[in-house]
Subunit: 457 residues, 2 copies
């Protein structure tokens, strides 16, 4: 009712940039995850921050939910309109507004995808580093505090967003942060917005850090007898201060899936995939030192990829891990878990998870951003088999319990969305109430992505 | 009145760990800055988080201000009890609780100083990187979002605090963050607390990141014909991706002050002081590449310091810049400014500031963390000369205006305290109101460090 009145007003404001077509509603009611379809009442396609502010004001007047939408690659249903309302799709706000080469930053609209930005940057010698695998929008990545394979060297979205323009729940437009690289001027509102999943405001512009394209890059894959040896090699490498740009773990099941999917010939053992960025000489030295450490932990089958095409093949294989795993069990759907623990607990967390999966009737290959202590188990279940689905959910649940017991977090990079809300109380204790206090203060009507992040009111 | 009642109750709770001696009150009413004496009504010396919570609860009941205190090294009067109340001195909460070598983190109480922590870490091969010059407490450094010479490589306090235990305005104790290196689980409360200057809560425990002591270190100083050449050399070095651990600018007046104070023989021209951390070979290569770039911009008089004692002499000189400048004008006091701008605007900001100082009757030597775009002008005035004091304040004011005009911030690392509050509206616009909303939500009685950070109520 209240939503319908808001939608009528929005139609007047936006004309044919307000969609109520069934296909559009269904598209925005679904995500790359296992949640039931929850379509919004309408989809708005704003073109400016001022239009976003008008949309929010209209919705605020009617108490109608407002849920931001990037390209729908989130894995925890963050952008689902759980109680209907308006999905604000940033597809038409997809411009790179400015690249400041000397300052190594770019001002972008939230609908720009990371690949689009990197295409625009090609001639500059700079690149945007955060790479969650999917070609997500920068707005969506900021809102989920995304990271990925390069975070160990270049940081997560928390580290790579300098400033934002945000539309608040009452339609005010604010600017947080500046293009200065650091500041001690007041509460870090940019940091508060990053990872807030659209519950505190809608980002309409961002300034992101860029990095210099390395002069030289070297990648390698190598094999270990067991998980623990691989993780200990990682710990030793970090402690030696060898600057890894990526360091990824894949378990024997993923190696097998790669072989089947990409025609590789990896032994079906635990592997590390590493990459070094730097000068020709620096990279060569880093690689040599890594090799010595890995040798100490029994690594074998080193394959170095110094040519761009070889490297591309290696990381395409890694990026396709999700699809390779899905293909290893035709017809299956996946729950992708996402725990992150202190690195000293990583071997234990992975080993316990593997044992848990081994005792189950479903497969669950494991890949991990081991430099950060973050890993994913891809739990493959048949959708028409409720027992399997329950089994997958139970393993995922035990993984979170394990992460929290080991001093870690329920999600390293995928976020809370609709999937992890039940763990917030356990992970944060009273601090979760503080999040509720902040949400109440900034969105007293609870119209911004309601049902997410904080305790339901 | 209300403060007196709170202090009486606190005396019962703390016994002789509540001080009302005049000398103690005066000590806590003063800071390393130019603000008038504002003593608290009492100084509390808690030993546990639970005691801090009790203190806050008693003060909340009476509406009595609570102001946290480290060792009083802040430059903007953050820890001054502007309206009286209780100064909570963390001197007795000064333990390093745990060092997790494998995870490269340490759990500390807020009263530990950065030097104390590094002494404890000596045998581990690890170090704590943030170095604001003064031997501040880690709690104080977190609360002001401190940084210093190594931030360009290892980040500021924002980047180096993983987790916190915090006492809120109602006496609840919460934990923010975990020891996992990254998380997407909810609002970044740790990030919100860092830089909040005691206005949202009192930190009672922190987990901080540590870094591996580099295998090799190389430092150098070199001279340039003009400021712009020095800054352009910095920009080129950053863009080449050469990983500098420190890169500091000093102007001709500082070089002269060094010569007088430390007996150095630097030409009285602009200088860069740089340091590289890494492997023997990597450091040698970085240094060589830097030298080539610097040569392109006309650098002369390179002096390399590869031996520990030479390096120590170099950085002691830099750390003593403040005292060297003070000594250059016997009897003078200083206003230390702290603006930070996008690096492309750095030459312009420094050049305009130098011209402004040159036209004034007081000296104002300039030092800067140029890798971050952050610099300080040390404005030396005679305290008994109101005209000079006014002149210093006017130059400092114009520096902030300049920073904001150039897209920067009023403070790169010193914080707001009592000195920069007047610039918050201009720097943040409506976003400053949002800070007020957050403060109101988390401290509705306004007892935590009142009069700071947000719009006075």
């Amino acid at each position: 009712m209240r939503n319908a009145a808001a939608v009528d007003e929005l139609a007047t404001l936006l004309g044919n940039r307000l969609s109520r077509s069934k296909s559009d509603l269904d598209l925005h009611g679904r995500s790359e995850s296992h949640f039931p379809l929850t379509p919004p009442d309408a989809v708005a396609y704003p073109e400016t921050a001022e239009e976003v502010a008008e949309i929010v004001k209209i919705c605020a007047r009617h108490g109608c939910p407002v849920v931001p939408w990037g390209v729908g690659t989130s894995l925890e249903g963050h952008a689902l309109a759980l109680t209907g309302g308006v999905s604000v799709d940033f597809a038409r706000m997809n411009k790179v507004l400015k690249v400041n080469q000397e300052d190594m930053d770019a001002v972008v609209q939230p609908g720009v995808t990371r690949e689009d930005l990197n295409v625009e940057l090609r001639a500059t010698g700079l690149f945007f580093s955060v790479d969650p695998g999917a070609n997500a929008t920068l707005g969506g990545m900021a809102m989920t505090r995304a990271s990925g394979t390069t975070a160990v060297r270049y940081g997560t979205m928390r580290d790579n967003v300098l400033a934002m323009e945000v539309v608040l729940a009452d339609g005010r437009i604010i600017r947080t942060g500046t293009r200065a690289r650091k500041s001690s001027a007041g509460y870090d509102l940019t940091g508060l917005m990053v990872g807030s999943e659209g519950t505190l405001g809608l980002v309409t512009e961002m300034t992101v850090k860029l990095h210099g394209q390395p002069e030289a890059v070297s990648s390698a894959v190598c094999s270990f007898d067991d998980m623990e040896a691989a993780v200990n090699a990682v710990i030793a490498t970090i402690q030696m201060g060898i600057p890894m740009a990526r360091i990824e773990f894949v378990d024997p099941a993923v190696a097998a899936a790669f072989n089947a999917y990409a025609g590789s010939t990896l032994p079906e053992t635990p592997h590390l995939m590493v990459e070094f960025h730097g000068s020709e000489q620096g990279v060569a030295e880093d690689a040599e030192r890594f090799r010595e450490i890995a040798d100490d932990f029994g690594a074998t089958g080193f394959e170095w990829a110094t040519q761009p095409e070889d490297r591309k093949a290696l990381w395409t294989m890694r990026h396709n891990a999700h699809f390779a795993c899905l293909a290893s069990r035709p017809g299956a759907r996946a729950i992708v878990t996402d725990i992150c623990v202190p690195i000293s607990k990583l071997a234990e967390a992975v080993e316990e998870t593997r044992a848990d999966v081994a005792a189950a009737s479903i497969p669950g290959p494991i890949v991990g951003h081991v430099g950060d202590g973050n890993f994913h188990c891809i739990l493959l279940f048949m959708e028409d088999d409720p027992k399997e689905h329950a089994e997958a959910k139970a393993i995922a649940h035990r993984m979170v319990e394990r992460a929290l017991r080991l001093g870690g977090t329920s999600t390293g990079e995928h976020g809370i969305g609709a999937g992890k809300l039940d763990y917030m109380a356990e992970e944060h204790g009273e601090a979760w109430d503080v999040m509720g206090t902040l949400k109440q203060a900034m969105d007293p009507q609870n119209i911004l992505n309601p049902g997410k992040m904080v305790k339901p009111r």
